[in-house]
Symmetry: C2
Subunit: 595 residues, 2 copies
């Protein structure tokens, strides 16, 4: 069985591309050191290997089902979340005063990457809980935090985000779940929520749902939406878990993949009152939720990266072991067969995977490091960093979701018929990852977010920050001329296309302006990944002269993969940039009746 | 439930793009008429709808398994193949003297398209049988045909093709299954065959395996391979089914999709003698098999088209029904939600699917019509048509296999979370179709076949024939200037790239020459599909002035989809043509140790 993660690459990304080892110079991380981070990563690897990887296939083959009204999961899930809890990962990034280690966000993401790679389904329960608690930490009252968040930091209670409704999946403006004020200051919640991951299970003592709902009389649209804490079991003043809160499991969704995470339809206020507590201010629900959503979007992107990465490693091991055929130049049928990794087309499929998953990992960790910079970095860069993170978020979410799927298809292709069977994990990863372009904001939503909002946010300041950073790296790196030229071209094509389409926007009107928003996502996604590859290649080129053996091979592989991305992927930017700039109306003009 | 096939488009393709209605002017089809063909298509639709579509999901959920040594399938499969048999489709294209209807190949493909769309798994048994019988019809002796082929034409016996072996999936030169001459003129077959679809089941009275094996003392490599008929049960001189022939089911493969078709590991000569009959001449096995393989490759391509098409129709119906969100220009939350088909990005996803599946269908039927032209068309064009078909075959096989997968991903994306669940069929089609780029020659093999063999075959005559035909359609069509310009550019880019790389081939050597063979497949595939769209758009433009209502909408949709392909797909040719012409060595130079 191939490893689910490359420890060597993770070290490279954290310490040679990013400057994670310098974080302990910041006051919040003063107790840390690279050794502390490496110990945490080793712990993560061991827990993921022993308690998560062990039942990934079993959970896939035995999807959650209901017996006597209770959700049944394979036993490994409980052991996994317990081990995750015992390792302290539910609270690792929180303040020491809350029992945490004050771990930097980038290290926490690197920790989580292990669990996503080893078993994305079982990791879902933990990550939703962490995200939910983070939202509470920022917006819930002290009393609410003590009551609901603290048991989650201890890993005793789990959490969800409950946004979508059956009649309005992505259309949050149209949700109808209602909240009726009670005499005790709380609210009666009534309605249905669809696609709720981790919505029901017996893994934890309680489940804390963060529910979007409208208080009676609230205005239509997003301004009428408030956020509520709705526990599965009501909670006493002393924090004790009490009677059921009438959150009724109305059904489980049967998914193609990602089957270890229950996905539910929940009814609130059915057969009795469902009581919820308002979080923060009335009408600010969606804004609060976006705190969790943006974090979840980075998490989805990282999950996609790690599924793709695990598939790459599996197909790589297979390609080294499996012998078949000969070089095209060898016509002697009596000569021995070669490992398929020697065939150019197999190398193409492996290089493509490598360029996608290692590029995606670089981006996910880069974005995570910005979270740390916002929280603990120089104060005078905070506003720029927030805008940069806002701009990158749709890319971090959507690019790996889409391209890891292509990488996983390449992994299957490397392995041929074997890859199409349950004898190997790649077909499972392929089914798992197909969810990622859908949940936490579809690709369409990410495209509209990028072109319609983020590129022009704050007068285009975030875009300017990104441009400056990319151009600085273009000039900083020596050698690697081909890479720099290819990236410079892609940057120029993006810049020109964005300038053109944003300039035309007022005349075009919103519908035509956004008709090719997907192309904006595509071209900037590829360009940013190209930038991530220049950064990796530059780090590898610096290290190569002093490297020997496996290390030298590793760095040569990085440089070759960077060239691959420049030659086989970056040229895809031009035509889509041209399309975007042209404001083509082919899709807009198409009529429903013509299909 | 959405229809699995568009009758309107099939009519358009057969009678408005192709000239199928003129086939009855050929002597072999003299008894036919358009009405005959339409009756056959109606019969196919009804049988596919009633007996195939009904258990597609059930067969997916209950994959073949072994009980008491016998393969268990869901009951619907037996009813389906019986209905297919009763409709006469096993022999429909054969001579009247053999009980057939002498149906043209293009009509037979249109018939088969119904079954592929309705239930690709159950259709596999029938199609393998038809292909097997076709090979026998061409290369087996009269005695063999009477003994083995005739029961297959009657649908009583089924057939397989047994090429791959566990140690050599695609590497047929290295197969080791042996054939030892017996005193009775037959051979004892010994060895293992892997990935054998339809290799074992209880659906038919007998199973006729076409097995590649080496006669003791044969030379190494492909020249030492002969072809054998190996029945599951031995057959008496009177055609009676006798004792088992010791073809032992060693295991079933557990696939991600396409689960209705059993896929087996078979051992020959285990626990007793397995007797086989030589087909044709010694050492010609692979050449004979390619008769069936080439037919199977077109069948795989058509199967991929139809899976993609069924997914398109399912997502189209969903997009019309499902209401969510508003136009970007409408900020009024009190206004009603619109059908998602009105969102530009959903129209993009639907147009992409339409352009892929209808383009792929046009290509599959075009290639099928060439088969008819070879068999019953003008004798002086036969050699050119054979070369043209040879050249198109890798494209017909690989392009829809790859792009239907992207179309099916788009279908899932249109439907969001719903598309990711078993509540709709698209996730199943997505899993089913992922086999198509693998079996009957992987994408890598198709690329090598195209660039390494077909483009330069007969001094490049096939390529010249294709160029002439494409250029003739460029000048024949009036209007549609944008389409013609886009296609002309793509043709020029292909022509230039092929000329350059073929010219460099001698200096490059086979390994570097073929390193980017995949790009040859990609650029010519897209260009040929672009040509198919010009042909469809031209037919639609001719018909539009006289059309009303639904018909007019249909033709407008064709023209719009052609424009979509020209604007959103054909521009992808250029960078890959440049890559191919550059003879880039990035993949070739990559070392296994660097990964």
């Amino acid at each position: 069985m191939a490893p689910f993660l490359s420890k060597r690459d993770l070290q490279f990304q954290l310490y040679e591309v990013l400057d994670t080892a310098s974080l302990p110079s910041r006051p919040r991380f003063a107790e840390h050191s690279r050794e502390v981070y490496d110990d945490v990563l080793t712990l993560a690897y061991n827990v993921a290997d022993k308690y998560f990887a062990n039942h990934a296939r079993e959970a896939d083959l035995n999807e959650p089902h209901i017996v006597d009204g209770k959700v049944q999961l394979v036993p490994g899930v409980q052991a996994a979340v317990n081990a995750f809890r015992d390792a302290g990962f539910f609270s690792a990034h929180h303040d020491e005063a809350l029992g945490g280690l004050q771990l930097p966000w980038v290290v926490l993401q690197a920790v989580q990457a292990h669990f996503q790679a080893a078993n994305v389904g079982s990791s879902g329960y933990a990550f939703l809980t962490i995200g939910n608690a983070n939202l509470q930490r920022e917006f819930a009252s002290g009393v609410q935090q003590a009551k609901y968040m603290m048991p989650m930091l201890e890993g005793r209670w789990f959490g969800t985000m409950a946004l979508s409704e059956p009649h309005a999946g992505s259309g949050l403006a149209d949700i109808t779940t209602s909240a009726t004020p009670r005499d005790d200051g709380q609210y009666n919640i009534s309605g249905s929520k669809m696609w709720i991951s981790g919505g029901e299970h017996e893994l934890s003592e309680n489940i804390v749902h963060l529910v979007l709902a409208r208080i009676k009389g609230a205005p239509a649209g997003v301004k009428g939406i408030s956020l509520f804490i709705v526990p599965r079991y009501r909670v006493g003043e002393d924090g004790s878990v009490g009677e059921p809160n009438n959150v009724v499991l109305a059904g489980l969704n049967h998914k193609m993949g990602y089957r270890g995470t229950t996905n539910t339809l929940l009814n609130f206020g059915e057969g009795g009152e469902t009581v919820g507590e308002l979080v923060g201010e009335v009408g600010r629900g969606l804004a609060y939720m976006f705190r969790m959503m943006n974090e979840a979007r980075i998490g989805v992107g990282m999950g996609a990266v790690m599924l793709g990465y695990a598939g790459y490693l599996a197909s790589l091991e297979y390609a080294r072991d499996r012998k078949q055929g000969r070089h095209a130049s060898n016509k002697d049928p009596l000569s021995g067969m070669v490992s398929i990794i020697e065939h150019a087309d197999v190398k193409r499929l492996l290089l493509r995977q490598k360029s996608i998953v290692e590029g995606g990992l670089a981006l996910g960790l880069y974005a995570s490091a910005i979270v740390d910079d916002i929280q603990t970095g120089p104060e005078d860069q905070k506003a720029d960093n927030e805008l940069l993170l806002d701009l990158l978020t749709p890319l971090v979410k959507s690019w790996p979701s889409k391209y890891s799927q292509e990488a996983l298809s390449d992994a299957i292709q490397v392995m041929g018929g074997a890859g199409y069977t349950r004898d190997y994990p790649v077909e499972m990863y392929y089914r798992d990852n197909r969810l990622n372009p859908i949940h936490e904001g579809t690709e369409g939503i990410q495209g509209n977010d990028l072109l319609g909002r983020k590129l022009s946010q704050a007068g285009g300041r975030g875009w300017q920050v990104l441009l400056d950073k990319m151009k600085a790296d273009l000039t900083a790196s020596e050698g690697l001329d081909g890479l720099r030229a290819a990236l410079r071209t892609a940057i120029d094509e993006c810049q020109s296309a964005f300038q053109t389409i944003l300039g035309k926007a007022p005349q075009l009107g919103p519908d035509v302006f956004l008709a090719n928003a997907n192309s904006a996502l595509e071209i900037l996604g590829h360009t940013v990944i190209g930038w991530m590859w220049l950064r990796q290649a530059a780090a590898a080129a610096r290290a190569l002269p002093g490297a020997r053996g496996d290390d030298a091979d590793f760095y040569r592989g990085k440089i070759q993969a960077a060239h691959f991305f420049a030659v086989y992927e970056l040229p895809k930017v031009k035509w889509q940039a041209d399309l975007l700039a042209s404001a083509d109306t082919t899709t807009h003009d198409m009529q429903g009746a013509w299909f």
